[in-house]
Symmetry: C2
Subunit: 526 residues, 2 copies
């Protein structure tokens, strides 16, 4: 935002306070909408009315205000203040949301399901993107829907495959579901943002360097460059922060402010470093969040820990609510290409199909590698299929596609994406509670699962019986993979944690005590 205004301001006096006054009214409106969203969300939750989760409420408030502004049409100057650039979105709203996703990952269920989560997030998102892209392309070829080139279809597939954790997870938390299912949905939706954005960027660069002679190999290299590069830079910054806080000795009482200032600057540093290197800041900040929570966090003084957790939660709540309000507002204000209703209709069907392929393939792969006691049951698979809401990340990428693609194409994708977001957030979000109850993954699962966690000191035991493995080659390899994620847990416990954190002995205790507030924190998401 420091320089969004590229054009120099006129040198001789424009009406001095007017510009600022219009800005004031615009921002005032936004703040009022934020306050309203928080209050409405709170009231709805207090009355246990799960049909309109908070995100839907924000979206609807945005839609209403946008609609009003659209009808009245007098407030052109205020309107301008809402029409923000997607840069603002990428530089200032998404980072806190994504960082918080990584930061609030409960490390133990996450790491014990690491293999499954990675399979779902990386392979699954790839499958979903390609299936959606190809189906949309075929739809175009067969005149079912607006025709887009294959690369653009794949871009659309990538951006629409970024699922959003917010709504579903708050309901999961509220109702109490199986910990493994929770970890899987959360982990997947966190990591698949990284995957989707990397895929999108790769496709986008293929599209802009339009030479169709580009071979597949180069695309893969570029994707790996983006994904692995961003991940490494994020993890690197996280490790640096852990070492800094381990050795700087800032955890004495009266330096709390300095400690917090530095802690708060690191995620953003990671984000901007990646962007500056031409990588993906979102992917980087996500991994910084995971690493900082796992290592740096325990090097802070206790007060700063409380503060940092509350701070990131606050900032991300504000950003998240604002994003949903803004999406609603923008959807009501933008000129959409409603001529392509067919595109929207078939896209929705296709993403359902793609999500089914994604869940089915990944769940079967994971089940092959897992012992029977830890299989992902069919009802969990159904819940996973159902919880594929689309949210902020899809919106942001669609907003960017308007700039990246020829106008008509970008507009079509943008309209379809916003329609899909509104429908999934309002319909799927509103019915998640009912669905979870219908699938019987509510309540009953919780006690058992929590018990498992308690009895295993937080780890969901990766103790599968070697004996049950049948000879299939694929299965063996999958088990190898599963084993390697298990040995990552060991590596972490024996080498990384002692190296990067200071309170080696207390670590388990602090983790134990943190898990509870972190679950508590989810519940006050109001």
């Amino acid at each position: 935002m420091l320089g969004l205004n590229v054009t120099a301001p006129p040198a001789v006096s424009p009406p001095p306070g007017k510009e600022q006054q219009a800005a004031g009214v615009g921002i005032l409106l936004q703040i009022s909408m934020l306050v309203l969203s928080f209050v409405v969300g709170h009231v709805l939750r207090r009355h246990k009315f799960y049909y309109v989760p908070e995100a839907s409420a924000s979206l609807i408030i945005g839609l209403l205000v946008g609609g009003l502004a659209n009808i009245s049409d007098t407030e052109t100057s205020i309107r301008r203040w809402f029409n923000f650039h997607e840069e603002f979105f990428f530089l200032f709203l998404l980072p806190p949301i994504i960082f918080q996703s990584g930061f609030s990952l409960a490390p133990k269920p996450f790491f014990s399901n690491f293999g499954a989560i990675v399979t779902f997030a990386i392979l699954g998102t790839f499958i979903a993107s390609v299936v959606t892209g190809v189906l949309v392309y075929l739809g175009g070829l067969t005149f079912l829907m607006y025709k887009l080139p294959l690369v653009e279809c794949l871009m659309f597939g990538a951006l629409i495959s970024a699922t959003d954790p917010v709504t579903v997870l708050s309901i999961f938390q509220e109702l109490g579901t199986d910990v493994n299912l929770y970890a899987l949905v959360f982990g997947e939706s966190v990591l698949n943002d990284a995957m989707a954005i990397s895929l999108y960027r790769t496709m986008s660069s293929v599209q802009s360097h339009a030479s169709s002679g580009q071979n597949f190999f180069l695309i893969v290299v570029r994707f790996l460059e983006t994904f692995v590069g961003s991940m490494s830079s994020g993890v690197g910054v996280g490790f640096i922060s852990a070492l800094l806080f381990k050795y700087a000795g800032l955890d004495i009482d009266n330096l709390q402010n300095l400690e917090c200032c530095l802690f708060v600057l690191f995620p953003y540093f990671s984000y901007m470093l990646a962007e500056g290197l031409g990588l993906s800041g979102i992917v980087s900040i996500l991994f910084t969040g995971i690493v900082m929570k796992h290592y740096t966090f325990s090097n802070l003084s206790e007060k700063s820990q409380h503060f940092a957790a509350a701070f990131f939660h606050l900032i991300s709540s504000l950003a998240e609510t604002f994003v949903f309000i803004y999406m609603g507002f923008d959807i009501a204000m933008e000129q959409h290409r409603w001529s392509h209703l067919g595109f929207i209709f078939f896209s929705i069907i296709f993403i359902g199909v793609a999500r089914a392929a994604h869940v089915y393939v990944c769940a079967n792969l994971v089940n092959m590698a897992r012992p029977t006691s830890r299989q992902i049951p069919l009802k969990h698979q159904k819940a996973l299929w159902y919880s594929g809401l689309r949210g902020a990340m899809a919106f942001a990428l669609a907003l960017q596609s308007v700039h990246d693609l020829p106008e008509a194409h970008g507009k079509t994708i943008f309209t379809a994406t916003t329609a899909i977001i509104v429908l999934t957030v309002i319909l799927v979000g509103g019915s998640t509670g009912t669905m979870l109850e219908a699938l019987e993954v509510v309540g009953d699962g919780q006690d058992g699962a929590l018990e498992t966690i308690e009895s295993n000191n937080g780890y969901i035991a990766p103790s599968y019986q070697e004996g049950t493995s049948s000879g299939s080659n694929l299965k063996m390899r999958l088990k190898e993979f599963h084993k390697s994620t298990t040995s990552f847990t060991a590596l972490d416990k024996n080498y990384l944690t002692p190296f990067f954190t200071s309170q080696n002995e207390e670590e388990d205790v602090s983790d134990e005590s943190m898990r509870t507030p972190s679950r508590g924190r989810f519940q006050d998401r109001a």
Copy 2:
């Protein structure tokens, strides 16, 4: 920032990531400078090296990086990211700083010195502005310096009369000075920002409605409109927030995030409300800060209190440090009209004279009204004179004057202001410690003063002896005024506090317990 980019982005693909990448590098640089400032400031404080206070360090870092960027000159795109609009300054950097000023006012010393503070801030700033303005005008008439019209001289006088608390106060805290002197310097520099901005705006509107036939009466009305209107809106929002938090029942444990989100939105709401009404957001947010700290704060749950205090401290530290860095950077980058060195030289002399008039007149007025036991001693007057650093507010107003005034005039004022800021921050800031020791207001004062506070339950007794008053009419009126501020304390205690806060009984306790961390918080300003 939501709409600083007024020009529509080009519809067909510009280099997709490039813009964002440049932004990334620019912001990365800024974050690095922030981190560097915090670390350097911390190291300097740890070694008790008071000659370079934190603000100077930030300013110097900004100057150095700006100088480097200026020499290399290759980084034009990064450079653009630093060149921000003063709107960003006014809408996003100043509000947290000013709010924190109000929010961190220790209410008891502030209210017990209320009469003196108001005299210094309102009357004193008016005197300083007029004296500076008239002297600069006379200087122009006698060809000593660049000639500006009278109204513009008065605008310059107003903007340059806004003193900055940051540097001096951190040193005061560090060395421990008399509580009354501290309250006076702090209170004055907080309130005089409000006065200076109101005066500046009034003069600015006189200047733009250029009719010289405007009579004095209208100017006074406009000033009162700005000042009183902004103050009322700020106080009103503060009271509303107090009532909301008193009755909403959000202070139960798992609603902490909701509570904090709402609490954090109120100051900004107040700011934008005032801006939207065409008033001064800065003045409004300042009074919202004072009211929210005094009433709303005690209605929060204990956890949220800790969080809110740390949050505002954090945000304002970041904004403050950023402002000083940015000032340094901008001073090194801007093209200044160094041809007007005379203007700078004489301005500095004139503001010294004006500050002397300000302190002398106000101190004498206050002393007339006070009993001999509570007179402001000469050494305190000297300290007050010396502590008139200029900082962020003067810079922001000067930045605005570039837009408000004809180009050459605005540039001259801007150059002079930045030069004055650099000189006062570096020279005066660096020598404050020495000065305080020379004036013997260090150390010895603290114990006694703190004792006074302790023994009076925090109030510095306004128990002056009626008997000593001699018959002068002016003196009588001043005493009336002083009495009225005393009765304000009573009004507050008997009516306002019970009405706006919930924990009536605990109030004293929580205030007592808060004063200590709030002093502690000042000390960790590193």
